[in-house]
Structure formats: C-alpha cells, structure tokens
C-alpha cells in the first residue's frame, strides 16, 4: 500500500531569471514508495524545479515540505541531509579516487585526530553495493568503471543517508537495455524501502513501465497530475505540448539534384560501424536515434574532427580525406554543432565576428579585414534568419539561445556549403524559434542545399526530413522515406529491432 503522507511536497514554487519566469506557481508532491514521473518539453521547467528541490536554486516564492515539515534547501548538502537526493544526468565523480571514497565524499567515516576509518568506509560501502547488486567492489578506481557503473556509484551515494526522496534525471540516456533493467530493479528496491522516487524522462516507454503517477509541466506552469495506469501516451503528450502531437511527416517534395555526399562503409572503432548513406542536393536526410547511437560521431568524422579507421567519404563523386575542419570547410562541408556555447560560438566575441569567423580570411581589403563587407554579411543573415539583437556589436553571450543558434546557422549558411550538417538544431530553444528553424531547413532544401539533420526529437525529425536514417548502437538499422516512416517503426528501428515491414 502506498502511504499517502507525502515524503516531499512543493507548493506554489516560483522562480524567475532575468526575463524568464521559469517556474510559475508549481505544486508537486511525491509519496513514499511511489515512482512519480515529471515530464515536459525542453524548457518546461523540470530541471529548474529539481534544482530548487536539490538546493542549487532558491525559490522566489512558494514552500517546500519534507514529511509535511517546512524546509528550506540551502545547498545540495543541506537537501541531502534532509533526505532529498538528486542523481544528475551529468555524473559528478572524482575519477581518480575509489568507489568508496566517492560514495562517502565529504562524509568519510572518522577515527580520532582527523584520521580516516578505512575499515568502516569499505565495509559500509560494500554493504550498499551489495544492495545494488553490482559487479564491482568498493576499492575500484571510479575512472576504470563503465558509465553505467559510474551511475551506480552515484546512486550508491544517495543511499548513504536515509533518503526520503530520490530524483533521477534522465538516468537511462547512456545505458544499454540490460543496464536499464538493473536500474529499474534498483528503483523497485528503493520503492520497497519506502523511498519516494521522482523520475524525469522523455522516454514514454519507460514512464509507462515503471511509474505510478505522472506530473506534466509546460512553460513553467503546472499542467496536471495523472495516475499512469489511467492515461496514455497521447493524453500525456497533449498535456505536454498543449495540442495534439504534430507528427506530420514532411510532405513537400522537390527536384533532387546530384549526390552531394556519399559515405561507404565508414567505421570508427566502437563508435560506429559500416555506415553507408548518400545525400542529394535538395534533400534533407535526418538521423534519429538515442544518445550514444553514433550520430554525432559520424558528423564529427565528416567535419574532420575524427578519423575513421575504415571506409570512404565522397564529395561530389570524388573520394576525399577530411583531415581537419579546415579541410571540411574547403570541401564545402559545414557543421552546426550540438553544443552551441561550447563548440559553436566564442561567447566573448560580438555577433558579427562570430558569424564571419570561418571566412574572415576572404573578407579582406588587402591585408586588413574589410569591416564593411563583414557588417554587410551580418546584416544579410540577420534579416534572413530574423536574428534579434540590438546590433552586431552585441556580445554573443548575451543573446537568447534561439538567437545564438541562428548566429551559428548564419555563420555556416554564409559559406554556401555543399553539405550542411545540423546537429540538434533546436535543442534548448523556445517553441517559436523552433518552428522558424524548421521552416528554414525546408527552405534550404528547396534552394538546393544537401542537408543532414541530427535530432533526438521525433516530431522534429519527421517534420523536416525527406528520408530518415534510424541508428542504433553505431549502425544504421534502416533508412526510411518520409512516406514509409511511422512513429512505431521508427521507434522500433532505433531500439535495435529490425523488422519486416
């Protein structure tokens, strides 16, 4: 029986950042022994809510109750002391230290005079590891473990206290199916111990498999809580996006030109194997799959950031070797990378300089940079892409995510590439800008560009592609045309199921 006094309750939480009301009066609770899913699109406020719970942010308004007693979370340490443990998506471990030292980081068992009680440390850790049924012991160096095992270490950290609530943020992103089952067992165990589990995820299949209730946020606002058994994917999706999921496939077709890029049997160690595909001018080839399927690694190879150990790349029919990004650019291959802040932009430089960087050698008058030509180029693409910024001198770091992304896209469009690769074009971008960018991609295809789009969002990849390459574990399982693809067969393909259609 599920005890109905909430282990954790949030009431009317408000959190604003400059210009954005990230959480607008959100209420939420989790009951001991349940698994409660928290869902919403990117930017809906899930992370923010959990960061408030985890002590990383202070709410501007609202109350938090732990077992119905009012509480404030001053810091991650404090919230852990209150029994709320947050297992982040990005692992935060000290890789050179042992598992035991990581599990008890900051809380090493003591003997007199500031000495470490090693026996206690190892035995307590082994105890916890035993509960989790893992294959490694407390003395193993964390850096030597697989990602899945490292995640187990994070979970073990959570179990050093009498946890009342454990929050999992996208825990299965880097796990194999087998590893996922182990994780679900661990979660079931936690439930039995009376812990309230909060599960943040996008993966419908998992949510409907292990959760008891689902709460949905949209644009920082609480949309509702439903019992999992009493709802279905479509209703939940509707709550998330406020409209029926637009799974329209791309309907426009136009004249296709020559094959701009062809890849044959490309392999790179464990990252991807035997990849073959081609892209013609005028078409958009989408790559869909889970994190770790190998899509970004292929893009990095095409852009010269990685060397394959087998296979060949052909641009306009000629075989080429892409040794570096400079090579790629010369061959007309452009990449709008996944991480726009870390890889796509120099945040400290202004908008114009960021946009003209790849071709700054060509925008010259004699030995000097031709400022006029640069500004003209910036203006051109600012208008075309509707980039909102007070002026070209604005530091790029001050722009919104959507506008930053447009700068990156403008940067590469202005190079008139043969092949434009866009990796996660709208990650972390507001809905309005999202559809602008989708429209833009279709327009590029119509204008004769060969475009590759890598995406983790199904509506996006369906919307925008003429063909979709579904990847799983480093291989292209199947390539669909936009007429053939359905939600079902796509999901099956990326889960590794090759089926007879």
């Amino acid at each position: 029986m599920i005890n109905s006094t909430p282990a954790l309750r949030l009431e009317g939480i408000v959190k604003t950042f400059p210009g954005v009301r990230a959480l607008d009066g959100v209420s939420f609770d989790v009951v001991p022994g349940e698994v409660h899913a928290l869902m919403g699109e990117n930017g809906a406020g899930k992370s923010t809510l959990m960061k408030v719970l985890g002590g990383l942010y202070q709410p501007d308004d609202g109350k938090i109750f732990v077992e119905e007693k009012p509480a404030t979370m001053h810091s991650p340490l404090h919230s852990k002391a209150l029994g709320v443990v947050f297992i982040h998506q990005e692992l935060s471990l000290a890789e050179e230290l042992s598992v035991a030292e990581n599990v008890y980081l900051g809380e090493l068992p003591r003997k007199a005079f500031g000495l470490v009680d090693w026996e206690q440390l190892y035995s307590k850790t082994d105890e916890i590891l035993g509960k989790l049924n893992v294959g490694f012991n407390a003395r193993t160096r964390v850096g030597d473990l697989s990602i899945a095992n490292q995640q187990m270490v994070e979970i073990a950290r959570a179990l050093t206290v009498d946890a009342k609530a454990v929050i999992f943020d996208e825990p299965t992103a880097s796990l194999t199916d087998a590893e996922k089952l182990v994780l679900f067992d661990v979660i079931a165990d936690l439930q039995k111990q009376g812990v309230g589990v909060i599960y943040i995820s996008h993966r419908m299949e998992e949510i409907f498999k292990i959760t008891d209730r689902i709460t949905v946020l949209r644009d920082g606002q609480y949309q509702g809580t439903v019992a999992t058994k009493q709802t279905d994917e479509e209703s939940v999706t509707q709550m998330m996006i406020g409209r029926k999921l637009d799974l329209t496939r791309n309907a426009s077709h136009h004249e296709l030109g020559d094959v701009a890029l062809e890849v044959k049997d490309l392999s790179c160690g464990d990252l991807y194997q035997n990849v073959s595909f081609s892209v013609r001018r005028g078409e958009v080839l989408g790559f869909y799959g889970l994190v770790g399927a190998g899509r970004t690694e292929i893009a990095e190879t095409l852009f010269g950031l990685r060397q394959p150990n087998r296979g060949s790349i052909h641009v306009d029919g000629k075989e080429v070797r892409v040794g570096s990004p400079a090579d790629a650019i010369q061959m007309g291959i452009s990449l709008v990378p996944e991480d726009r802040k870390g890889q796509g932009l120099v945040l400290g430089m202004n908008c114009r300089d960021n946009m003209t960087l790849p071709q700054v050698d060509d925008l010259t008058a004699g030995p000097f940079v031709a400022n006029g030509a640069e500004v003209a180029l910036f203006d051109q693409y600012r208008d075309r892409l509707d980039i909102r910024t007070p002026g070209w001198k604005q530091t790029v770091g001050n722009l919104s995510g959507g506008n930053q992304q447009k700068i990156v896209i403008g940067k590469w469009l202005s190079m008139h590439p043969n092949v434009l690769i866009v990796d996660e074009p709208t990650r972390g971008i507001d809905v309005g800008s999202k559809s602008e960018i989708h429209k833009l991609i279709r327009e590029l295809a119509a204008a004769g560009y060969a475009v590759i789009v890598i995406s983790s969002e199904m509506p996006e990849v369906l919307h925008v592609s003429d063909r979709i390459a579904a990847m799983f574990s480093g291989e292209i399982v199947r390539t669909f045309t936009s007429d053939e693809v359905t939600e079902d067969n796509l999901i099956q393909a990326i889960s590794g199921i090759k089926q007879k259609d």
Partner: protein, 323 residues
C-alpha cells in the same frame, strides 16, 4: 560583502578602476615632487620602458591566445648576449639578423610544444626559462659580453641614438606597437588570436587553425624579445648574462595592468602600452622617493594580485569567495 552585480559605480571601477587608480597615483606623486611630470622625466620613463614595452607587445599576443610565456626574461638575456658576441665575430650587419633567427628558433620551439603538442604553457615556459638560461650561460662561458671597440661601431644607434630628438628605442617601441597593434586588431590573423583565446574548441570548429595561431603568437613574442635584446645590447654595448632575469614578471604585470585577462580572449596592444607606461611611472615614482629596486618587487606583487582580483571580483559580482 554583499553582491554588487548591478552596481554601476563598481562596474565603472572594474573597467576603468586601474586607470583611475593610476591617475590618482600620478596626482599624488606630482604633488610630492613636481619633477615627476617634467618633460625630461617623462621622456626618461618612456625611454626606459621601451625594452619592457617591446617585450610586452609580444606577450600580449600570447596571453590573448590563452597562454603564458615565462621564458621571455631569459630569452632576452640570450638575445642580448648573442648579438654582442656575434657583433665582434661577424660584424653588426650579420650579427643582427643571425641573432633574430636564433631567437625566433627558440620561440618556434616553444610554439611547437604549446601549439602543436598542446603542452601546458606555464610549465613549458618555466622549463624553457631554465633551459634558455643554461643555454645562455653555456654560450657565454659564464662571462659577461662586451663589445671590444665601443666607439667604432654604428651598432649603438639602437640603444643610444635619436632621430629628430626622439630616442631610437622609443621609435622602435612605437613602430612595433603600431605594427603589431594593427596586426592584432585589423587583420584576420588578429581575429583568430582572439577566437583561439576566447574558446579554442569553437575556434577549431570554425576552421581556425588553432595550433598554427598559437605557434605564430610565440614567434611574434620571440621577435619582440629579439628586438628588446637588440636595444639592450646596443644601449650599453656590453652586458651580464643575467640581464633579462625577472623581466617576465614585470612584463606580465604590465599586460595584466593593461586589462588583458589571463584566461585569454581579451586585451589589446594599446591597453598593454598603457600598462607598460603605468608600471614605468610607478617604478619611477618609487625611485624618486629613494626606494631601492626591490621595493618595486613588493609593489608589483601587490599590483598583480589586486588587478587580477578586481577583474575576477567584477565578473563574479562579489569581492570575496562565498565559501
């Protein structure tokens, strides 16, 4: 201390704080001794800052590209000794280009290690500081270098001559500042230096040749060091082989005073110039007050810490770390 992220006054202090402090400093010293701002004194300060200034120009490039160069002091000793030695062996006409080549070779080596092999620039240049010092000692056999016939050579023009009343060192300083300043702010190469320092990953993702850019920055620094060595050698026509010792810290202080961030991606040659002059006037002021050279060390220490602290504090929005 409460946060002051939105305090306009503090922001102004951050941006121009050093300049304001400097103006205050000048005012105080002028009141104490009006000789401080006499034309003679000013000219003398600028002239004696020329060597440091020339070196600081090169180091500015290295710092903007996100690296450090602690070897410039011993490299300058090397250049000075080499050119003096070669002057007597091959004549000034051959000695000067040969010295430049040798210094550039050292710079190329460092540039290769930091740019292409991606080794840590702090440790590499610390190691090179020692290695080049050893090289200089070996080359000079441990002795000082002196030009045999001091009056019979035109070589002295670099350090001692003047053109229409302006000392040659100042002219050289000004020329290099102008040349490299334009290179940094108005050419594609300069843009790339800022990109590499601001975000090396994004720079590579944009096709900027990161390794080559870093390499060239070290070459530029070596060129500037060679020029400084030339001026120094020509000034006294003789030198100890430790003449450049410790200069790397003064150069760094000047660059930091000029507002360049040690993290890379910001700064300009002009600002470094200001930093050099500031440092020069501070040292001059202390000298006029009768304080010996080592007091400068302590003052420079204070300047470096305060300047970097202020820069970090403004970005953070708080003077002190919260924990």
């Amino acid at each position: 201390m409460a946060g002051f992220a939105n305090n306009e006054f503090v922001k102004l202090l951050g941006k121009q704080g050093i300049l304001i402090a400097f103006v205050l400093f000048m005012v105080v010293f002028t009141i104490a001794d009006t000789k401080f701002i006499s034309v003679d004194n000013v000219l003398s300060v600028v002239r004696s800052s020329a060597i440091l200034g020339v070196m600081a120009i090169g180091v500015t490039f290295v710092v903007i590209s996100g690296n450090l160069d602690l070897s410039v002091g011993s490299m300058m000793s090397f250049s000075t000794i080499v050119v003096l030695d070669l002057h007597d062996k091959l004549g000034p006409l051959m000695a000067i280009p040969l010295m430049f080549l040798m210094t550039l070779a050292l710079g190329a080596f460092i540039g290769f290690l930091v740019g292409y092999l991606k080794l840590n620039s702090l440790i590499v240049t610390l190691g090179m500081l020692s290695a080049i010092h050893g090289l200089t000692l070996t080359y000079s056999g441990g002795k000082n270098m002196d030009i045999a016939d001091k009056s019979g050579t035109w070589f002295s023009v670099f350090g001692q001559g003047d053109v229409i009343g302006i000392p040659v060192p100042i002219i050289l300083f000004g020329l290099l500042a102008a040349l490299f300043g334009i290179l940094l702010s108005k050419t594609p190469f300069g843009r790339k230096v800022y990109a590499v320092g601001g975000n090396p990953t994004a720079a590579t993702f944009s096709g900027v040749p990161r390794a080559r850019t870093v390499f060239l920055c070290y070459l530029i620094s070596a060129f500037c060091v060679a020029t400084a060595g030339l001026i120094q050698a020509s000034r006294s026509l003789g030198s100890q082989n430790t003449v450049g010792q410790g200069l790397e810290l003064e150069v760094l202080a000047a660059v930091i005073l000029g507002g360049a961030s040690l993290l890379g991606g910001s700064g300009t040659v002009f600002k470094t110039l200001i930093g050099v002059l500031m440092l020069g006037f501070i040292q001059n002021g202390l000298l006029l007050m009768g304080l010996p050279f080592y007091v400068q060390f302590v003052i420079t220490w204070g300047i470096i810490i305060l300047a970097v602290w202020l820069d970090i504090a403004i970005k953070r929005g708080r003077f002190f770390v919260s924990a």
